[in-house]
């Protein structure tokens, strides 16, 4: 289940714009399912229709890219994990952006998809370099907290706890959380409300 994520190297796809919300990444009608299996066709579907083939996810030069380069507050809005799941189904394995919405970021971590942030200028530069040369390989190195493309090397940011979880391969925390069940029960026992009301009776 758990695997180390230290470095991602791939072609990249630039997606320009601030505040791109999860309703745009995957419209709610695609959430009407009890699995994540069929999300690929829904990724950015309305934006893609509106742009009639000109959306980066449709442009031939970006097919096969595994790194998505975005701007500010990407993934804001709904908590739907369907959004990163849909991106992953399209092929995205890592994101670089100016900033990410909190819940989206957490969902990506839980799926093993690192989201690193960089200064607005750096992100702009990366997007321009990729647009000028879509074949260029972008490398995100989580150990050095750097991104590289051609001659450019820039620093990126990821909070230390999250970074070490990726590097150690413990980004899927479920196993660790479950293993601590005794401590969990001890913590619960100290919380007064656990014993109040009939919620605790069952």
């Amino acid at each position: 289940m758990v695997s180390e994520v230290k470095q991602i190297s791939s072609q990249a796809v630039p997606l320009l714009g601030n505040d791109i919300d999860t309703d745009r990444i995957i419209p709610a009608r695609y959430l009407k399912a009890i699995t994540f299996d069929d999300l690929r066709e829904g990724v950015f579907v309305d934006d893609r229709k509106a742009l009639n083939g000109e959306h980066p996810f449709d442009q031939i030069q970006y097919q096969g890219a595994n790194i998505l380069i975005v701007n500010r507050n990407f993934g804001c809005g709904s908590s739907r994990e369907h959004a990163p799941q849909a991106l992953a189904k399209w092929g995205i394995k890592a994101l670089i952006g100016e900033s990410f919405a909190e819940i989206f970021f957490g969902n990506c971590v839980a799926m093993g998809i690192p989201c690193v942030t960089a200064e607005a200028e750096v992100v702009k530069q990366l997007q321009e370099l990729v647009m000028a040369n879509p074949q260029a390989v972008v490398t995100i190195n989580l150990e050095k907290l750097q991104v590289e493309i051609g001659d450019l090397t820039a620093s990126v940011v990821m909070s230390e706890g999250t970074r070490s979880a990726f590097i150690a391969g413990t980004w899927d925390a479920c196993g660790q959380l479950v293993a601590n069940a005794q401590q969990v029960k001890a913590t619960a026992a100290k919380l007064p409300y656990i014993a109040w009301g009939n919620l605790a009776a069952s």
Binding site: D21, I34, A173
Partner: protein, 467 residues
């Protein structure tokens, strides 16, 4: 780093330990689930051969996909039926309490948990829904999570998290007539931006919030997430305790006294330290309407849609996108914008006090010709209460449709959808592109009273003229 705030205290009390990564393992006191984001989590549990660790601390309801007209089973929409069946089966298998349609307690998850008294001060609350921030109104630390995290809570009653910073948002003074809790939060988001809260918990403080009832506080905390803050909260006080006393799951007897003492000890200390403080004057807040495609693109009802030049450079690109998508022009007054559909409801504004305010506007008036207007109570209890007060009759007489409870056209996962380029006045929380069920549909967010005003006038109009 914040110190001595309610957020710090509740965080520390729920900390199980530090994981090897350095992230905190945080105990979740109340877990709420619904049909949309839980089925995959239950499948993941099964795939890993895990059980639900504290089944009695998870509560389920069905809200997103429920039809608001004909709720007879099986639902006409096969996928909706499949989703409710999956939830029924998962709850039964794992011994989780499920408030189904007709139970008397079904409704939008963020409406029912408070009304049942499940939501209490000092709790940590998680739900696979971003508007979980609503529960912060009680002085709980409540936030939305994704499906893998729903799995983690089911399996361990905990989450792996990094601590947020705390920003105190102080609003002081009296709101002017026609200005509601919704306007306060739209104004805050307009000012601080939709990403202003990223990395923060918002503590809503000051005399304005102190005077608000619990439902108004819920409206404010509900939309903290629209300002980028994963959670927002108000310190608990007498208004909180009065609301909770005698509710189904509230502590009783000697426990109630203990609870009061504990809750009082959790409020932010007078000398608490914050990572940031922002102060607003309530009297300067106008009835607010959004004109664009993010909840931060709001203006006073008297104002004109801003030109790109009036905006910060970083906000111009999305403004250009909004002018084009909304087919509204910079410099155009928002008042007078023609409306096709009016929606009153949602976890933001589908509670009894919201319906009362809207009914005051609707009473004795008529929905404008050509406008479709409908009211969706937030829960079965809200519906029952509204009907006992005769609000349904006021709405129906005025030409509004009176529906069954659910999330409805807030996100349009049920049959309630905009058609084509229809434009709606909505008491919900998101005006994102395509949000209300049509990929070209348009949404203007505002208070329920302003939605009712728009319904009567057939266009965006100032609620103050109808008070």
């Amino acid at each position: 780093m914040s110190k001595g705030t309610l957020f710090d205290k509740v965080w520390d009390l729920h900390t199980v330990g530090t994981l090897p990564s350095g992230l905190t393992q945080l105990f979740i006191g109340l877990h709420l689930i619904h049909e949309v984001t839980s089925p995959q989590a239950f499948s993941m549990l099964k795939g890993r051969d895990l059980k639900v660790l504290f089944p009695q601390r998870t509560i389920a309801t069905v809200d997103h996909i429920v039809p608001t007209e004909n709720q007879a089973r099986p639902f006409r929409d096969n996928m909706a039926e499949e989703m409710i069946q999956a939830l029924e089966k998962n709850c039964q298998e794992h011994n989780i309490t499920f408030y189904n349609i007709g139970s008397g307690n079904q409704g939008i998850v963020h409406v029912i948990a408070p009304e049942l008294g499940l939501t209490q001060p000092g709790m940590t609350i998680a739900c696979g829904d971003s508007h979980t921030s609503s529960h912060g109104a009680f002085g709980a630390i409540a936030f939305g999570i994704g499906t893998s995290q729903v799995r983690d809570v089911l399996a361990s009653q905990t989450l792996s998290l990094s601590k947020l910073k705390v920003r105190k948002i102080e609003v002081n003074g009296n709101l002017k007539p026609g200005v509601y809790a919704k306007d306060v939060i739209l104004h805050i988001i307009r000012t601080l931006g939709v990403k202003g809260g990223v990395g923060y918990a918002y503590e809503f403080a000051g005399t304005t919030f102190a005077q608000m009832n619990m439902e108004e506080r819920m409206t404010v905390c509900n939309m903290a997430i629209e300002g980028g803050a994963r959670c927002g909260y108000v310190n608990p006080d007498e208004i909180t305790y009065d609301y909770l006393q005698n509710r189904d799951f509230a502590p009783k007897g000697a426990d109630w006294e203990k609870a009061l003492n504990w809750w009082q000890s959790l409020s932010s200390n007078p000398d608490a330290e914050y990572d940031d403080i922002v102060v607003f004057n309530a009297e300067a807040i106008p009835p607010t309407v959004t004109w664009g495609i993010t909840p931060g693109q709001g203006i006073g009802v008297d104002e004109k849609i801003p030109t790109a030049a009036e905006l910060l450079e970083e906000d111009r690109l999305i403004a250009e996108e909004a002018y084009s998508y909304m087919d509204l022009y910079p410099g155009q007054p928002i008042q007078g914008t023609k409306i096709d559909v009016c929606f009153i409801g949602s976890c933001t504004n589908g509670r009894i006090s919201d319906l009362r305010e809207a009914a005051k506007i609707a009473q004795g008036r008529q929905v404008a010709a050509g406008v479709k207007a409908f009211v969706v109570p937030g829960s079965e209890r809200v519906k029952k209460e509204a009907e006992a007060e005769g609000l349904d009759k006021i709405f129906v007489k005025a030409g509004f449709e009176w529906r069954e409870p659910g999330c409805s056209m807030c996100l349009a996962m049920n049959p309630d959808k905009l058609q084509g380029r229809q434009i709606s006045a909505s008491s919900s929380n998101r005006n994102f592109k395509g949000r209300q069920g049509s990929s070209s549909g348009r949404t203007l967010l505002m208070s329920p009273a302003m939605v009712a005003t728009a319904a009567i006038k057939g266009e965006i109009a100032d609620v103050r003229a109808l008070l």
